[in-house]
């Protein structure tokens, strides 16, 4: 892809990035790129255009005092060729950047752009689809596995009551154990890499896999979805990382629990509806499952979680927060930098937004 970029490129960064991020952008083509951070210049406008407390959640660095304001700000925008943006952003940004050639947005879904003059515009836009939450979610899933293996949930609860008893710490190591990932997608690939990193064997299923394959895509065995139960029989830890579709709804049912190893742990960081919750409660009560870490449960936006889950001594649940992280923005930066490198080499950029398709 070759855009009408001049020899010297003016890049504006309209989200809060630390100095090292700006340096990383400059280093892609030293001397050829001018990078101007505009987050603090735009902050008051953003607070006026979006809920101010929401805007402040994205405000991490301190202003230097040198930020362009007023006319100077508009001058920088008017001369910009490229922008790195995310949520929140000025809704009139397109009209203030007449020379814009390309904007990278650090979020995955582009519905954020609907109430702005960028929606459907002629400027090439790219997104961070597939890169935003997968890594922190994968880390959360592995954290859940280690917490259970090393009985940290017992430690937390004994500390809470200040009644310490060395019984109850029937620990396992994760080294050499098998983790099974239901749905080897963006999250699953990160999880496989991390689990391998702590010495685990990793098996997985994927909907689009036609036959059982060994040593592929970072896993020891990849099974077709139809051989789901064969995979479960191998696993000490089972992680649900699939999309919620009519096909996956309730797929982790009584038959699936029967196929699992006695004493396995179940982790769900996908959607609650993929698991048959009464069957899970039964498996927990019978000891078939040793415990669970659940970031989601069925119909979580409307009903409280089932008491049979929350009351179990080895179930730990979080309120759908496994994607949270302090540095989500670095993924957008990675995508921006790799796309900028591609652009300068005349290659196709990744994740170019198709306004008709909607992502």
């Amino acid at each position: 892809m070759t855009l009408g970029l001049p020899d010297h490129i003016n890049v504006v960064v309209i989200r809060d990035e630390p100095e090292e991020a700006l340096g990383r952008i400059r280093a892609i083509a030293p001397g050829r790129i001018t990078v101007t951070p505009l987050w603090h210049s735009l902050l008051d406008e953003l607070r006026a255009q979006w809920p101010p407390d929401l805007v402040d959640r994205f405000n991490r660095t301190k202003p230097t005092g040198d930020e362009p304001k007023g006319e100077a700000l508009n001058q920088v925008l008017a001369e910009a060729h490229v922008a790195l943006g995310s949520f929140p952003f000025p809704r009139d940004l397109r009209s203030r950047m007449p020379g814009a050639q390309w904007v990278h947005w650090g979020f995955a879904g582009i519905s954020n752009l609907r109430p702005s003059d960028f929606w459907g515009s002629d400027v090439v836009c790219t997104s961070s689809r597939g890169y935003t939450g997968a890594l922190p979610i994968a880390e959360s899933a592995l954290a859940g596995a280690l917490m259970h293996a090393r009985k940290l949930d017992v430690g937390v609860r004994q500390t809470g009551t200040r009644e310490f008893d060395a019984k109850g710490y029937e620990m396992t190591v994760v080294d050499g154990k098998t983790m099974g990932i239901i749905g080897l997608g963006g999250i699953g690939r990160h999880l496989a890499r991390l689990a391998k990193g702590v010495g685990m064997r990793v098996v997985a299923t994927r909907r689009s896999t036609p036959a059982r394959v060994e040593n592929t895509e970072g896993v020891d065995v990849l099974y077709p979805a139809a051989q789901f139960h064969d995979m479960l029989a191998e696993c000490d830890f089972v992680v649900v990382a699939a999309m919620w579709t009519p096909e996956t709804e309730g797929m982790v049912d009584a038959d699936a629990f029967a196929a699992m190893r006695n004493g396995a742990y179940l982790i769900n960081i996908a959607r609650g509806e993929i698991i048959d919750e009464p069957a899970m409660a039964g498996a927990l009560a019978s000891g078939k499952l040793s415990g669970a870490y659940l970031d989601v449960y069925a119909d979580e936006f409307n009903v409280p979680p089932p008491a049979a889950l929350t009351s179990h001594p080895h179930v730990v649940m979080t309120p759908h927060v496994s994607q949270r992280a302090d540095v989500n923005h670095i993924f957008g930066l990675d995508n921006f930098c790799s796309n900028l490198e591609r652009l300068l080499k005349g290659e196709e950029m990744e994740n170019v937004i198709n306004w008709e398709r909607g992502y």
Partner: protein, 358 residues
């Protein structure tokens, strides 16, 4: 040295060794080793000398077979004594023929206040060969728990609190810096696991003379004197050092002041290395985002103090970090190595340097 050895070495085994382990010891030199299992024979002394610790053990004790006279005679004739944990204290003066005491544990601090301390007869430990892997997994698991707020979730979800605003700040582990105080057996395992998670790893080591990069699995290895420089880089800090005169209280007020705001402290070594009053203050001040302690001062004999156990964002376990479903007990291997070396007249492995403290 080898020329002075008797033809047959009596190896007295106080450790609870399996038949397999006993056979392994014998196999080092079947014609020259007399392996004598004696766990039950010294149990009364072990209990007497370690009353509080032994109370944790369940079940009726096995009965001795020897008379007191047989016990003394066997001990006096023993050349190598493979100790148990805990162990009877009053052996060294009675083991008149002893050439080596071997301990199934890593830390010399267990010998403090016993007649073994400063012993002229060599004492070897299993430093680097015990539960390093399960302990390292627990340390990394604790770092992950705090990063993902699971220490709060484990309490909140049971209480039915699913308020998303109540969930603590969550952190990405990838790219964060984990510091290991004491890059030994546990520390190198911690470093390997943390690298596997995409973390940066820095460490200190007692024997490191100067700052080095990319050494033994750490991105930067600091001499012990530069502890505070290392701490300033770390998001997560794992104490994995030996408890010695030098390390006692080394993680004190100055060390906490050197740490980053929001750091997490993890101690899987010995409680005495951390100044508990300074730790409690750092937690109350919010300087630390969390602390996980498998150990605390006097943990063999007492529960943690109320001040410590009720500090904010603390998680304590009662010295259980080495537990595992898999055997990691390689202390018998160290003994076998040392028997081979003893027979060959070679220098022994892991012999305690009492001055250094391990």
């Amino acid at each position: 040295m080898a020329t002075e050895l008797p033809d047959i070495l009596n190896v007295l085994v106080l450790a609870q060794a399996s038949e397999e382990a006993l056979a392994k010891i014998k196999a080092v030199a079947p014609s020259r080793l007399n392996v004598i299992p004696a766990y039950a024979e010294f149990l009364d002394e072990t209990i007497e000398d370690n009353a509080v610790m032994m109370r944790r053990r369940g079940g009726p004790p096995p009965q001795p077979r020897w008379t007191p006279a047989e016990r003394e005679a066997t001990l006096a004739a023993a050349h190598v004594v493979y100790l148990s944990f805990p162990f009877p204290h009053r052996l060294p003066e009675r083991a008149a023929s002893a050439l080596l005491f071997h301990a199934p544990f890593a830390g010399v601090s267990n010998f403090k206040g016993t007649p073994y301390w400063g012993s002229k007869v060599p004492v070897s430990t299993s430093r680097g060969y015990t539960q390093a892997l399960p302990i390292a997994e627990l340390a990394v698991g604790a770092a992950m728990m705090f990063a993902k707020g699971l220490h709060v979730a484990a309490v909140n979800s049971q209480a039915g609190n699913f308020d998303r605003a109540a969930a603590p700040l969550m952190r990405l582990l990838t790219g964060k810096t984990l510091g290991v105080i004491g890059l030994g057996g546990i520390g190198t395992n911690v470093a390997r696991l943390a690298k596997g998670l995409g973390m940066r790893v820095v460490a200190t080591r007692h024997s490191a003379k100067a700052l080095a990069v990319n050494t033994d699995g750490a991105d930067v290895l600091y001499p012990a004197a530069q502890l505070n420089d290392m701490l300033a880089e770390c998001d997560f800090i794992v104490v994995a050092a030996m408890w010695t005169d030098e390390t006692e209280g080394m993680v004190g007020a100055d060390a906490f002041a050197a740490m980053r705001d929001g750091a997490v402290l993890i101690n899987v070594a010995r409680g005495e290395i951390v100044d508990e009053a300074a730790l409690v203050a750092a937690l109350h001040a919010g300087k630390l985002a969390g602390a996980y302690l498998d150990v605390f001062k006097d943990d063999f004999t007492q529960p943690p103090s109320l001040d410590l156990a009720s500090a904010p964002n603390i998680v304590i376990t009662p010295h259980v970090s080495g537990r595992s479903d898999v055997s990691h007990a390689f202390s018998t291997d160290v003994l076998c190595d040392n028997l081979n070396k003893l027979l060959a007249g070679e220098p022994l492995e892991n012999v305690v340097d009492w001055k250094r403290g391990y």
